[in-house]
Each structure stands twice: as structure tokens, then as C-alpha cells.
Symmetry: C2
Subunit: 337 residues, 2 copies
């Protein structure tokens, strides 16, 4: 694949590499004999040795203790499917994870995979993106090794009109993930930026393939600034940006964050499928810092200002104008007035 080296695709935690890691993790820091690995995995000693060598290539530090066995010293600081899947209990999301060192855009890759029939819940992750996409054709800064760039394929049985509801669902999941891993209190900006101290820490770009009366697939594109430092942001950013590390004052484990995010997405999506949009909307409204306040919206050459009062089922921001009329805003850049 031209987008870079495909690391691994994991389904249901059943690869041999992953079994080996599970055995190591069952007794942390202990030496495991080659014989034990060989008998548990039902493969030869030579095959065990080859898999250990493969894990080392991926960045795992594994010590060989002569005539005793192997010990896992450290996992690499990489978003490996083997790591994210470990301990991830979800119903739909993350059953298949595909990771790249670099891809043009995880959304683009996921879109193509969805078209080719990839199952619901497939996750595409990359350490870096060469053409990361932001909202409205903008660029999303995607340096390597410090952040999370991922795209999730969903196939909800909804109409294209309702697809925007997934945007709110993913914003709520990201906010939950940020809160859970850092204890900070993120807010949401319409339609789907997640902020810390008023600065953007995550951006969401959803795409879909649809027929007039049926969504075929939706791609939830999620970029979260995790360990990016202040000097890694470009100087000409349209909106002030920050990262979990800058805000919390300490590095955040990217694999932990990814796992928490996928779990929250899974929970929210299950509740959406069972009970509809209401619960997602309520949590989104509770987390949105703009509701009940006066805002400005710019869209192409026009602008409007008013009191933000809520969102409707089509994702429009409801603004009460000074003359009392209610305006439905479907696209644009919003800021507090």
C-alpha cells in the first residue's frame, strides 16, 4: 500500500502475536519459557522464536534469558492494534483495527475500505498523516508519534438526513475520553470541536456514503492532540489549539486514550441504536459551552449573531435573533460574541 507500511490488522484478539503478549501480561515482569509458549500456542519452538523476533521489530523490548525463556520489558510507545485491543471490551467498535505508520488521511483510507465492504466497527489508525483533513477543506496538522488520528466505520440504519447526529455522538465520546484520562473538563463547540480552556484539543470530520433513502456507511474521523508540545503547532492556526499534555501538565498514554475512546464510542453507539438520538443530544447540550450564550456565526460571506438555544434533529444550531426570530444555522464557524 502506497500510504505506508500496514502494521497489523487484529480481529477478536486472535493473532499469535497477541496471544504471546497476553501470556506475558498474565504474569508481569516474569520470565516465560519457550516451552510454555510453544505448548500454549500449539506452535513449534522455532515458530515462537520467529514471533518474538517480529514483536521486537514492532518495538517491543523482550529480553531473552538463555536456557530459561523470554521476558517482556516494555511495550513501544506506538498505537499498535495489539496494545489497543488488550483489555478492550466492546460490542461493535474496534473488533478490527488497522494501523499505519503513515497514511495520507485515515478518513480517506477508511472511506475506501467501507466502500469495499469493511465491517461496522473497523478502526483505521495512523501515527501520522501526510494530508490530514479538517472541516471545510482545511488541513489538520498531523505530526508523528504524539497524537491520535483515527477513523471509525459505522453502518447505522438511518437516513442521510440523520447522519449529522453521528457528529454529535463522536464529540460526546471524545469529551468523555478526555475527562476520563485527564480529569480535566472539556467543553464542546458547535458543531464538533472539543476544547480545553477554550482552545481546540480535538477536531472531528465525519464523512458518509449514502443513497437518497439510506446511509451506506459513516466514517467518524477523530483527531486528538495528545502529547503535542506548544512549539509543534504551526504559527498560523485559525483557532488557538492545545493538547492533553499542555493542559494537564503531564504526558498521556496514547494507547490508554485510544482504548477509552473506542469504549465510549461503543457505549454511546449502542445506546443510540437502541434508544435514538435523545440521550446523545442531551449530553451534547450539557457539555456545550455555547448554549444560553450570545454567539456569532460566519459562513462564507455572511454572518449572523444571536442567542444559542439548542440544536435540532438535523444538527442545526438554533439561534434566537434580536428581533425574536429563530434562525437555524447549518454550517459555519461559531464563536462567543
Amino acid at each position: 500500500m502506497k500510504e505506508g507500511f500496514l502494521r497489523h490488522a487484529v480481529t477478536d484478539g486472535t493473532t499469535i502475536d497477541q496471544h504471546i503478549l497476553e501470556i506475558f501480561r498474565a504474569t508481569p515482569g516474569e520470565v516465560v519459557s519457550g516451552e510454555e509458549l510453544s505448548s500454549k500456542l500449539k506452535i513449534s519452538r522455532t515458530a515462537v522464536w520467529k514471533h518474538i523476533r517480529n514483536l521486537k521489530t514492532l518495538g517491543y523490548r523482550i529480553e531473552s534469558v538463555p536456557s530459561v525463556g523470554y521476558r517482556l520489558v516494555a511495550a513501544p510507545d506506538l498505537l499498535l492494534p495489539e496494545e489497543i485491543s488488550a483489555g478492550l471490551v466492546t460490542e461493535r467498535i474496534g473488533r478490527q483495527i488497522v494501523a499505519f505508520n503513515e497514511t495520507a488521511s485515515t478518513n480517506e483510507t477508511a472511506f475506501k475500505m467501507a466502500e469495499e465492504g469493511a465491517p461496522e466497527g473497523t478502526v483505521v489508525i495512523a501515527e501520522s498523516q501526510s494530508r490530514g483533513k479538517g472541516r471545510m477543506g482545511r488541513r489538520w496538522e498531523s505530526p508523528s508519534g504524539v497524537n491520535l488520528y483515527c477513523s471509525i466505520i459505522l453502518r447505522p440504519p438511518i437516513l442521510p438526513l440523520q447522519a449529522v447526529q453521528m457528529t454529535f455522538l463522536s464529540a460526546v465520546a471524545v469529551a468523555r475520553g478526555v475527562e476520563e484520562t485527564t480529569r480535566l473538563s472539556p467543553t464542546i463547540k458547535w458543531p464538533n470541536d472539543v476544547l480545553l480552556s477554550g482552545r481546540k484539543v480535538a477536531g472531528l470530520l465525519n464523512e458518509m456514503g449514502a443513497e437518497t433513502e439510506k446511509v451506506n456507511f459513516i466514517i467518524l474521523g477523530i483527531g486528538v492532540n495528545i502529547n503535542m508540545e506548544q512549539n509543534q503547532f504551526p504559527a498560523d492556526l485559525r483557532h488557538p489549539a492545545t493538547s492533553l499534555r499542555i493542559e494537564s501538565g503531564r504526558p498521556v498514554d496514547r494507547v490508554d486514550f485510544a482504548r477509552v475512546l473506542l469504549r465510549e464510542l461503543d457505549t454511546l453507539y449502542a445506546s443510540y441504536l437502541a434508544g435514538g438520538y435523545g440521550a446523545v443530544r442531551d449530553e451534547w447540550l450539557a457539555r456545550c459551552a455555547m448554549i444560553g450564550r450570545r454567539v456569532h456565526v460566519d459562513y462564507r460571506d455572511s454572518a449572523v449573531a444571536g442567542l444559542a438555544t439548542g440544536i435540532d434533529e438535523y444538527g442545526a444550531l438554533l439561534l434566537t435573533l434580536d428581533d425574536g426570530r429563530v434562525e437555524r444555522v447549518l454550517a459555519g464557524d461559531v464563536k462567543l460574541a
Copy 2:
């Protein structure tokens, strides 16, 4: 390409094959000398001969008159880009036409091409489809050589919410095309079937690739039963079907029909871009046989009945129920009550 032999892609009528055909058509029935072709096209006599041979392979009957020249006797009954482009004057649609002997589905091919950046107005045509798609996952019967199966790529600057408006636009274009080529009076059934004598003569399946706030592309999928005979329809059709030939009592030239359809689409699309949805909606309403009448709608396990009074900007059919409430129908099968 696995979907079959790619015939030709024509842009702006500039291929040599097409120039040769234009020269023949300027003096119908006349012999044109190899020398004249060679000097007008600025290619060698041998190259002229090779192009003539190629045109014969495509199905053109061209007579070689020894030591005089060539004469075009007949064009093949095939939807060749060279034929459709001849005399087609449009602003956007059909500037590039790609034709296949067979493809799985012209919509699928066009969707992939759009993703890869194919320009607005690109038309994909096939003589037959092995997996022709109808609405709501149904199959569209696509026998070879008798009908028109085509997909058109558009890139209107609209929101995903408004994409359904393109469905109504393509239904109006098909109705105009049927009227113009047969003098019959087609009607439209919500959302986008075109009927003759109450039987389906064309089906439309639109698809899109979109972001939350921006349509990237829309595929207008159009299937028209042109010269299909009664015994070519499968016995188990959900809705009664017919063809232009059955209704008009005589065969219809498929190339003529395609040319008229592309021209009508081009005109309607230009008016939509300049003046919005209003004119399309008005013509759709005037051509829809259901407005002002009592209808039944089935969708999955539910059903509703009422008086059809119009459509809204999201494409919903507006029904006035017996108790006076207005119901917005977004998907389903409609029939007269």
C-alpha cells in the same frame, strides 16, 4: 478493468476517431479520400487506415472504395461516446463520457471515479450491468443492448441535507427526455420513478459522498427501459414495468435518447445552480400524478395513508392525514389509495 472492456473516454470531442466521424458526417453518404483525412487530421495515411480499422472494430460500417477513399455506411446501435458526443452542446454534463460493454453497476464505477477526483459532468454508461442497483438495496434488471444505464457525477456546492433535491432534478430531466423523444406524457411517482400508463419506465438511484457540512459529489444513477420487450422483464417484478418501445409502439434510438437526456440534465442543473430548487420543485409537482390524491405509503413494517399535498425542501412527501395532521414521509413505497 475487471468490469469489462473500457470503450473510450471522450473529452471535448477532440479524439481522432471522433474527428474522422465528424468529417464523414459533414457530407453524409459521400466518399472521403484517405488524402483528405490525412491532411485534415495531420496524420499519415497509415495512421488514417488504423483509425478506420478501429472504428470498424467498434461496429461502424465503413466501406473502402479502392483508390478513392472511405464511406461511412452506418453507425452501430451502441451507446458509444463518439456517437453521443456528436452534436451534444452542454455546459457541464457529458464533457467526459466513459462507456463499458458491461460493468457491475455504473453507479459503483462512477462513485469510485468521483472519489478519485473525476470532474463534474463525467458520465459513465454501460450496455449492461451485472449487479444493477435499484432503490433500497433492490436489483435493477439490466439486459444488454436495449436500454440506457448511466451515472452522472455532479459536485454542487450544497449541504448533504439538500442532496435529495438532485433526485427530483433527475426525475424531471428523465420525464422531459421521454416526452421529447416519444411525444408520450410520462408522470412521476414520489420520490423518483418515471411512469408511462402507470407502469415504471425509469428508475433513479442517487448516491453521494459527503462531509457533515459539504457534499463532495453526487452520483445521479439513471436507468431507462428503452427498447426492452415485454418478454424480457422478469416475472416477479415488484411494480409493473414498461419501456419506451412498448408504449410508443416503435423502437427508440438509444443514442438520441441519451443525448436529449444529458442536454435536459445540463439545462436543469444550470438553472438549479443559478436560481435554486424552486423551479425544479414546481416542475416536479406539475408532473407528479400523486399530488392532490389519496395515497398509501409502506416503509419497513409501518404504513400510513393520507392526501398527498406536496414535497418540502428535504424531499419529504407531505401527507395530510384524516385527522388533519400533516405527516412528512422521508422514505417508503407510495401508491394511489
